[in-house]
């Protein structure tokens, strides 16, 4: 049942081939059997899920045609859900339940989706491997001793393992696209401001954006249709006309559906440091796009190489401020014993935050501090503009920019967890879209020799979501990478060491 994409599940629900309750139960059963090995979920709420599904069935019976009605989904545990705890993968919020829903949570609920639970993630979304969670590392369904990517690794693993057909993630520097690539599924980071950040627990406010992960481009479009929309509670949310992100997908085209589409290939995305297996898969994908009529254009993004250093100044700077509210005063973890106020803050935050979060708070505090602000934060913002200028020039020559989502396929759990710089370099192709606010997605385009999935990243200028989804959809009409499923029974991953984080 759960092997089908949302488009098919939705048709089956409306045709009453099975009910939403049956679908939710199938999801819950699969989670019960596979989640202990994958650790994709932090919280699952069967009672609520079945109640939601029952309500959806009642609406389906009345003939409602909402495309997501009755579809089971999950939310990354950084999106606030009333009545279901929102931990951010942190000890700090291990027992925190929000009194309100995030805007995207609310929108998806109104679209009739059935909330199954909350997915595991790098603590406060800080990571590229989903290893830093207080609730333990997430495992890649394709190889359980490998990471699923991060920080939305729980969502990626859950969708790849067919626990749910679609789920939300958040992307600050690649946290939707990179785990989508490493887990063999699709993930979209929308244009900054398309999805409200209200209820998204802030990591880096100028970069954070929620988006969908699913198994097909068409499913991404349906989920984004529900998630996008203006919200007066977020001053950076954009008030623009409602858009049907699936509109281009449904247009009839001939055998060369991508005729006239110009695909930019920045030299910087095809240089040294890319795993040969990844390079080969990307070349294959580009050949397919050309076969469908797309024109590839060689171009340059001279400053894009600075994306990672710029990102690792701006994101920690904003994080150091955003995470100040976790002080043990009003909610969340508070140290049991302390001598005075300063001691309470120190112990609470040292106990409540993991090593990576503490590292980024320290870096962020440093780059904003008196005497260093100009050299780091201000300079980073200046370079950010130069990077945006590069992309502006590039989009005069092309409609879409293509390249690998990540330089390698999924790495082993623990392989680089002690080497922050190596870990940060995973974000080399993804951070630019966050710095420029533009949309980008990742779709499966092959496997490396060890059978780990590889993702193709497509980027476009602001509001190019429909175009990106169309290119991805046409690619998926002619390929079957997105239909490959991990054979979980045959997975050979060893169990994690006790208490691994």
């Amino acid at each position: 049942m759960l092997d089908a994409p949302i488009t098919e599940l939705s048709a089956s629900l409306r045709a009453k081939r099975f009910s939403s309750v049956e679908l939710a139960q199938a999801s819950l059963d699969r989670i019960a059997s596979l989640n202990p090995a994958l650790n994709a979920f932090i919280t699952v709420d069967p009672e609520r899920a079945l109640a939601d599904a029952k309500a959806a069935d009642a609406l389906i019976a009345t003939g409602s045609a909402l495309p997501l009605l009755g579809i089971p989904i999950a939310h990354k545990d950084i999106l606030a859900t009333a009545g279901m705890r929102t931990t951010c993968g942190s000890r700090m919020l291990a027992n925190y339940t929000s009194p309100f829903d995030a805007h995207v949570v609310d929108r998806l609920a109104r679209a009739g989706t059935v909330l199954i639970g909350k997915t595991n993630m790098d603590e406060f979304a800080m990571g590229s491997s989903s290893e830093t969670s207080h609730f333990g590392p997430v495992r890649n369904p394709w190889h359980r001793d490998h990471v699923p990517g991060g920080s939305s690794g729980g969502t990626a693993a859950a969708v790849a393992a067919r626990l749910v057909p679609g789920a939300t993630g958040t992307d600050t520097g690649g946290s939707i696209r990179q785990p989508a690539a490493m887990s063999g599924i699709c993930g979209l980071k929308p244009t900054y401001g398309v999805c409200s950040r209200f209820g998204l627990v802030a990591f880096a406010s100028s970069l954070d954006q929620a988006g969908p992960l699913a198994r097909t481009a068409h499913d991404l479009a349906l989920l984004l249709n529900a998630m996008a929309g203006h919200d007066v509670r977020d001053s950076t949310s954009l008030d623009r006309p409602v858009e049907d992100y699936a509109r281009m997908l449904l247009m009839e085209r001939d055998s060369r559906p991508l005729a006239g589409v110009r695909i930019g290939l920045p030299a910087e995305y095809f240089g040294a440091g890319i795993d040969p297996g990844v390079a080969q898969a990307i070349d294959g994908a580009l050949a397919e796009l050309r076969r469908q009529g797309a024109i590839t254009v060689d171009l340059a993004l001279p400053n894009v190489g600075l994306s990672v250093p710029v990102y690792y100044v701006i994101a920690p700077a904003e994080a150091s401020s955003n995470l100040s509210r976790f002080d043990g005063v009003r909610y969340g973890h508070r140290a049991a014993a302390y001598t005075d106020l300063a001691d309470m803050y120190r112990k609470t935050r040292a106990e409540g935050f993991g090593a990576e979060v503490r590292r980024r708070i320290l870096v962020g505090t440093y780059v904003l501090s008196h005497g260093y602000y100009d050299a780091y934060y201000r300079k980073a913002q200046q370079v950010r503009r130069l990077i945006a200028d590069d992309f502006r020039r590039a989009y005069a020559q092309c409609d879409v920019i293509a390249g690998p989502t990540a330089p390698t396929a999924a790495f082993r759990i623990g392989a680089i967890s002690d080497d922050p710089v190596a870990m940060y370099l995973n974000d080399i192709f993804t951070t630019a879209a966050n710095l420029t606010g533009s949309p980008a997605l990742s779709i499966p385009c092959g496997f490396d020799p060890s059978g780990l999935p590889i993702g193709l990243q497509l980027q476009g200028p602001a509001f190019a979501e429909a175009r990106l989804l169309d290119v991805a959809h046409r690619f998926q009409q002619a390929t079957d990478w997105h239909q490959r499923a991990p054979t979980l029974a045959e997975s050979t991953g060893s169990l994690p060491p006790e208490g691994a984080q």
């Binding site: 999106l79 606030a80 929102t86 951010c88 919020l93 925190y96 929000s98 009194p99 309100f100 995030a102 950040r197 209200f198 209820g199 998204l200 627990v201 802030a202 880096a204 406010s205 100028s206 007066v232 509670r233 977020d234 001053s235 950076t236 700077a317 904003e318 150091s320 401020s321 995470l323 100040s324 509210r325 002080d327 005063v329 009003r330 909610y331 106020l341 803050y345 505090t365 904003l368 501090s369 008196h370 602000y373 934060y377």
Partner: protein, 484 residues
């Protein structure tokens, strides 16, 4: 060697919006702790600030009132520090680009008119309150005030004494109330000042090291604090010491300032632009809309009063001390007659005299005066047309104040029979009676004792319970005594 005092003030004026600057929670004072703190105010995970346009409009109003530049683009910044009553761990303020830049206020000092330059005014949010009492060694936190909109108004160090600082602060206080952006309630903390104080040898061109005295919430304390601080700094330097830059607190009980934190302890606030709030864009149309809704400013009104109502400058200043008084005066004056020298002066005298005294006595605000402006005008009309004398007018006013006859002056005059006696025949008779009964006094006058006339006038007035027109009585007596 003479010393010069150099002072500048940073004033926090709480803006009179119904809701907070970044949330929809109420700003009303005095509610039970934490009942006016929304999810945004207590900084729950995932909440975001949304700017209150009413706060922006009030800042624009202020900028227009002081002739400042309104920046078409200003930026909200985060001021980061940890404190339990600061829920987000940062205060949203404005740093590099404030909404209001420059401008000035003129103040009336004992040495004459003086222009005080303003550096800037920026929007920011207030913090909550820490409650250290009644919690048995623990601290209570009340976040009702968290997120209340403030306009921080920074003056240049143009003030040369504690007295000047207080005059400036009072002038600013009156202005923010006048333009309706702040209720000015100092007890409730709606208007509070920090004073930067330094001293230097007269003639010196560089500034001395300054100390900042925090949270002066009364004009009296401000004067005491600055005077103490000036003495302290002068004595310190005279004794061969040096002033250390620090933040000090004024202890009203002991009348002295004491150190709070030194520059070395000063926090690094790590200001940076708040990514949750786009830069604040203000277009000309918005400014013009605000300008159109601005009340006439006190200086302009003062000049107009002098011109239209032929008032003394001093009276015009007093009548424009606050908007309520000015409105009362003008309503009464217009109700009485078209502006003319005579009625303007009459109304001014009554508003600043009788009315003001009665308000003081009963501790009432002018807006709550039992005698309305139009009612006072009705009374003054009877004085102006000679129906009653000014002296009788005061009795009528007291009766109106007490609510007799619904405060209707004419009804009170009629009921009490207080009309002035100005009929020539009646006056004649009264004067004849007085002369007959006081022949000896009349003889004294005729013998050259001028003062005797006053005694006779007094007796005539007494005989009519003050109702006789004193000018007519005076004239009739003189005529008769001269033997005509």
């Amino acid at each position: 060697m003479k010393w010069e005092v150099v002072t500048g003030l940073e004033t926090h004026a709480q803006l009179s919006t119904a809701s907070k600057i970044f949330s929809g929670a109420s700003t009303a004072f005095g509610a039970a702790p934490n009942t006016q703190a929304s999810a945004v105010d207590i900084a729950l995970p995932g909440v975001l600030p949304v700017l209150n346009r009413g706060a922006v409009e009030r800042a624009i109003r202020f900028g227009l009132a002081v002739g400042a530049t309104i920046h078409r683009r200003s930026v909200f910044a985060r001021k980061n520090y940890f404190y339990p009553d600061l829920p987000k761990g940062y205060q949203i303020s404005q740093y590099e680009i404030p909404i209001v830049q420059g401008g000035s206020l003129s103040i009336a000092t004992p040495a004459g008119e003086k222009i005080v330059r303003l550096t800037r005014a920026h929007l920011e949010e207030d913090a909550g309150k820490s409650l250290h009492e009644d919690y048995h060694g623990m601290t209570g936190i009340d976040l009702n005030r968290a997120g209340t909109p403030l306009l921080e108004i920074v003056s240049e160090p143009d003030l040369r004494s504690a007295v000047e600082a207080v005059i400036y602060a009072k002038r600013l206080h009156a202005l923010v109330k006048w333009i309706g952006i702040c209720d000015g309630n100092m007890q409730e903390g709606s208007f509070r000042c920090d004073a930067n104080v330094s001293v230097r040898r007269e003639g010196a061109t560089t500034l001395g090291t300054r100390c900042e005295i925090k949270n002066l919430n009364s004009f009296r304390f401000m004067q005491q604090a600055i005077e103490y601080e000036v003495r302290r700094q002068i004595e310190l330097i005279d004794d061969g010491g040096t002033v250390v830059q620090e933040t000090r607190l004024f202890d009203p009980g002991r009348g002295e300032t004491r150190p709070m934190r030194s520059k070395e302890d000063a926090q690094d606030y790590r200001y940076f632009p708040d990514p949750d709030l786009p830069p604040l864009a203000i277009d000309d149309a918005w400014i013009e809309r605000v300008r159109a809704g601005m009340p006439e400013l006190p200086e302009a009104m003062r000049e107009r009063f002098v011109f239209e109502y032929a008032l003394q400058a001093q009276d015009a200043v007093a009548l424009t001390a606050d908007r309520e008084t000015a409105r009362y005066f003008e309503t009464a004056a217009k109700s009485l007659a078209a502006p003319s020298e005579r009625t303007g002066k009459l109304v001014a005298n009554w508003v600043l005299g009788e009315l003001s005294a009665a308000l003081n006595r009963d501790e009432r605000a002018i807006g709550a005066a039992p005698v309305r402006a139009d009612q006072l005008a009705a009374l003054l009309r009877r004085i102006a047309d000679g129906t009653i004398s000014g002296k009788i007018g005061k009795d009528v006013f007291d009766a109106m104040w007490a609510g007799e006859h619904g405060g209707d002056a004419d009804a009170i005059i009629a009921a009490k029979g207080l009309e002035q006696i100005s009929d020539a025949g009646a006056i004649e008779k009264i004067v004849d009676d007085v002369l007959a009964a006081n022949a000896a006094v009349a003889a004294e006058f005729r013998a050259g004792k001028e003062k005797a006339l006053q005694s006779l006038v007094g007796k005539a007035m007494a005989a009519t319970k003050g109702r006789a027109d004193p000018a007519q009585v005076n004239a009739a007596l003189k005529r008769k005594l001269a033997g005509n």
